[in-house]
Symmetry: C2
Subunit: 325 residues, 2 copies
């Protein structure tokens, strides 16, 4: 990866105004790093606006400055610089805004290994989250990290590392976390706000789904089914089923977790892998796709039939790959 | 709290043999800190045995040395010193062994605020877990923390802080975590082993418990009940219910989570608080105790009756404190 974060200093030297943009469907790192970067720029005397094509998810709206993130940009010619955070490609910012029309200079701050280095200045580094890069930037500019900035950066870190669980969690991640606590972060408060906010229907639908979890003979494939009827019974919405497939993966011995959900005459299927199986390959067998350990597909058909066909096919396929015994 | 960890150096100076004991129903800190302390003692040339009245839960058996923890002690007169970890009171070690008969000197290493200072030497300090104290001890004795010890200490930390979520998570906790990663800990591997290893009965009993979660009128108190019959139906063991109370706390709006479990004619009650309620105070109303946000009690009686009495009492008590509206 190209490391040229030092160039940022020059790039910002004469800037008076900046636009910070992040990716569609923003997560905690997108929001947290955008806001923290804005605080750095403001301290440098740069007037800053924020853009995200999609709205800030409810759970991140408590972050200081979250209300400044807008879904449109006015006066888009007036920025000296546009900073893009947490986007591997300019297309990730969404189609509604042409950033190149917003500012003569684009600074790309990202941590994705497949970043296309689309910026005029590219600060692209391997790190747990873009928040880590912004922290380094604050240090570089000798800007004090206050509680507000620390809350944003801590949100970046925990949401991108699964609260220090994923393998992007490093010594540096923990050292920065320690500094953020010194700056006033309350880890209990932030994690409670972000993680302990499950709706009652979400809890009930997960309980229903997990009561009925089924397994292949060797227990390496685990799956669960949620019908529209079950959703209605507990008053669950589609966002309430997020996480059920991860709960199936968290079962001892399960290598592949599959979650089937009936929606409007179709069946949405989520796949997760614990360790050794490439589930994007499995998802492709049903017209879907995704990542190595998280993938999805949508298929037509009656849910019980889809469940039977898909699980049979997966088990057969994994056996052929000599994965299952 | 009394801080006299320095005295340990004198207490261990002439010891050749040690027994390390921890509390009944052991958790990750009990097991992790016992094993890490043993590694420290062995490096000091002290032959060490380990005792726990209950067996090591399956998920902690991968820890190096876990098989050395025994449920009985032979030759119990032969130890120069007995170290008790993670027990606020000698009674927490269980009734089957009289530690005072095992060794002429008892060292009490603990972090519970209500520790009775039962030892001849008491190293009782506020810290996220006893693992933190053992880490300090390793530093005090200038003992290198290798990967094995680091895995044990990291397990202590994550299990007692809810993987850096509870408010016992401090700057020091993160600094130690950073050191443990330097020593070779793989946070993804350890958290997967500990958290993504739920037994099928554990998943089923949690699903049953959460299907039936109940609430006070204002939803600020949430609780769930598991009977011996439910446990038998899904084949669950006592270690399988760990975490249910936290899942109740994770529900939006819930401030106090309570979990009732029937066992051998008694009812075990776990309390958790999200933010504003001191649950150790609540637990004390039923003869129990614990921490501000995590506490427990064991009461006699028929479970449905205990559920009714305890929840009524809690709701009434919290209303009196003007906590509930």
């Amino acid at each position: 990866m190209k490391k040229s974060c030092g160039e940022i200093k020059n790039a910002l030297k004469n800037a008076k105004t900046a636009l910070i943009a992040t990716h569609v469907d923003p997560d905690g790192d997108a929001i947290g790093s955008a806001l923290a970067l804005g605080m750095v720029l403001e301290q440098l005397g740069i007037r800053t606006a924020y853009y995200c094509q999609d709205s800030v998810p409810q759970i991140y709206r408590f972050l200081p400055g979250a209300d400044k993130i807008k879904r449109e940009v006015k006066d888009f010619n007036r920025f000296d610089v546009a900073c893009v955070v947490d986007a591997s490609d300019l297309a990730r910012v969404g189609g509604r805004l042409d950033l190149k029309q917003c500012a003569p200079l684009i600074i790309n701050l990202d941590h994705h290994p497949d970043n296309t280095l689309f910026g005029d200045v590219n600060c692209v580094k391997q790190s747990s989250c873009v928040g880590e890069l912004i922290y380094d930037l604050a240090v570089l500019f000798k800007i004090k990290v206050d509680k507000k900035m620390a809350d944003c950066l801590y949100t970046s870190i925990i949401t991108d590392t699964g609260n220090f669980r994923y393998d992007n969690t490093t010594v540096k991640t923990f050292l920065i976390a320690a500094e953020l606590l010194k700056a006033g972060v309350d880890p209990h408060e932030l994690t409670t706000r972000i993680y302990d906010n499950k709706s009652v229907p979400a809890v009930r639908i997960a309980a229903r789904a997990l009561s009925g979890v089924k397994f292949s003979g060797d227990r390496q494939v685990g799956w669960s089914v949620v019908t529209e009827g079950m959703m209605e019974e507990v008053g669950a919405k589609s966002e309430d089923v997020v996480g059920i497939v991860d709960a199936i993966r968290a079962i001892e011995g399960v290598e592949v977790a599959v979650f089937f959900r009936e929606e409007k005459g179709k069946v949405k299927i989520n796949f997760r892998s614990k360790d050794r199986v490439n589930v994007s390959e499995l998802a492709r067998r049903f017209g879907g796709g995704g990542h190595l350990k998280a993938a999805g597909a949508v298929v037509s058909g009656e849910i019980a039939e889809v469940e039977l066909n898909v699980t049979r096919d997966i088990i057969k396929h994994l056996k052929a790959l000599k994965f299952l015994v």
